[in-house]
């Protein structure tokens, strides 16, 4: 039955601009209220911690983020909405998490932070908060195009024991139900976000790995090229949508 439904709508293709919806629009009134009120949004706990980390000296260089970048509310506005962005030294687009770690290792002479560690989530949440309300705008040029194409290929490639591609749910069947949940369009507008299921903040890569496990595929490693490319494609796919981090999702 499921196969028949999928086959019937298999060629729906990319979602037109006017029909693009944030996961926010599919949430219950209560969960939306939680995201909208900064004193009820648990993601703000990480944002506040990120603010103190931003101003704290660290590493062998003994420098705080704020010493180079000054006031994040000014200098970091829009930055999260532009990532992944191209890094010349690495020859590929890097995610916000990777950008934080590049700065830590190269400038602060501090060890990189582990993916999903409290500190890295706090810093990325603080950075992402500065882009709230900014339209998503990743730069696509001849340098980033191959990575965007790789991410697109991953999005449309069937994989895992269930033999599903991301697009089969998030392009072709969004708005319908998968068990009790509405299938969203899969736009990464609010990462890192507080997921009620996790009872914690998590990065986009954590969410992507969840989805991969859901289709019984082997999840890509944190920080892998595959997840980075997919992240780039998803941000491009959500271009001009409003950034809303730290979001709350069920």
């Amino acid at each position: 039955m499921c196969v028949v439904v999928l086959a019937a709508s298999a060629s729906a293709g990319e979602i037109p601009r006017a029909e693009r919806r944030s996961g926010y629009d599919f949430m219950s009134r209560e969960t939306r209220a939680m995201q909208d009120d900064d004193t009820a949004n648990p993601g703000m706990l990480w944002v506040l911690e990120g603010e103190s980390l931003w101003n704290k000296k660290t590493g062998d260089a003994g420098r705080a983020c704020a010493e180079c970048h000054a006031d994040a509310r000014v200098s970091m506005k829009g930055v999260a909405a532009r990532h992944p962005s191209f890094d010349a030294a690495r020859g590929r687009p890097i995610t916000l998490e990777q950008r934080v770690n590049v700065c830590r290792v190269d400038r602060q002479k501090a060890p990189p932070l582990a993916y999903e560690s409290r500190e890295l989530l706090a810093l990325t949440a603080y950075l992402a908060r500065q882009s709230r309300g900014v339209p998503i705008d990743v730069a696509i040029d001849e340098r980033t195009q191959p990575f965007l194409d790789a991410g697109r290929a991953t999005f449309y490639r069937r994989q895992g024991q269930l033999n599903l591609a991301c697009s089969q749910c998030h392009d072709d069947n969004w708005g319908r139900r998968l068990a009790g949940n509405v299938v969203p369009q899969g736009h990464p507008t609010g990462y890192p976000l507080y997921r009620l299921e996790w009872q914690s903040l998590g990065s986009l890569q954590r969410r992507l790995r969840n989805c991969l496990i859901g289709i019984r595929a082997e999840p890509y490693e944190y920080g892998s090229a595959e997840l980075g490319d997919l992240e780039l494609f998803l941000m491009w796919r959500a271009r001009r949508m409003t950034f809303e981090a730290p979001a709350v999702r069920p």
Partner: protein, 106 residues
Amino acid sequence: MASALINVPARAKRGEIIEIKALISHPMETGYRRTQLGALVPRDIIRLFVCTYNGTEIFRAELHPAIAANPFIVFSTVATESGTLAFHWTGDRGFSETESVAITVD
């Protein structure tokens, strides 16, 4: 670490009902979960939340293992006088956290 977020109106009229929101960072580990090796993860929850208004207790809540991580408690009180609202969370493993917020009543 900023572990608690409190929202209390800075000013209120005497006799006005004000809403108070308190969000705190805490894992609320139930004590029923096991690790992959089968060992029980010890319980680590907030047991008690108390709010005092100029030293008088106005709200108290007992928390239990079924309450989600990062408990968010909303309640209301009548603004009677200017002063301090103090919030106190206590729990397992000697957890103790206090925050206070000033309110002006006119």
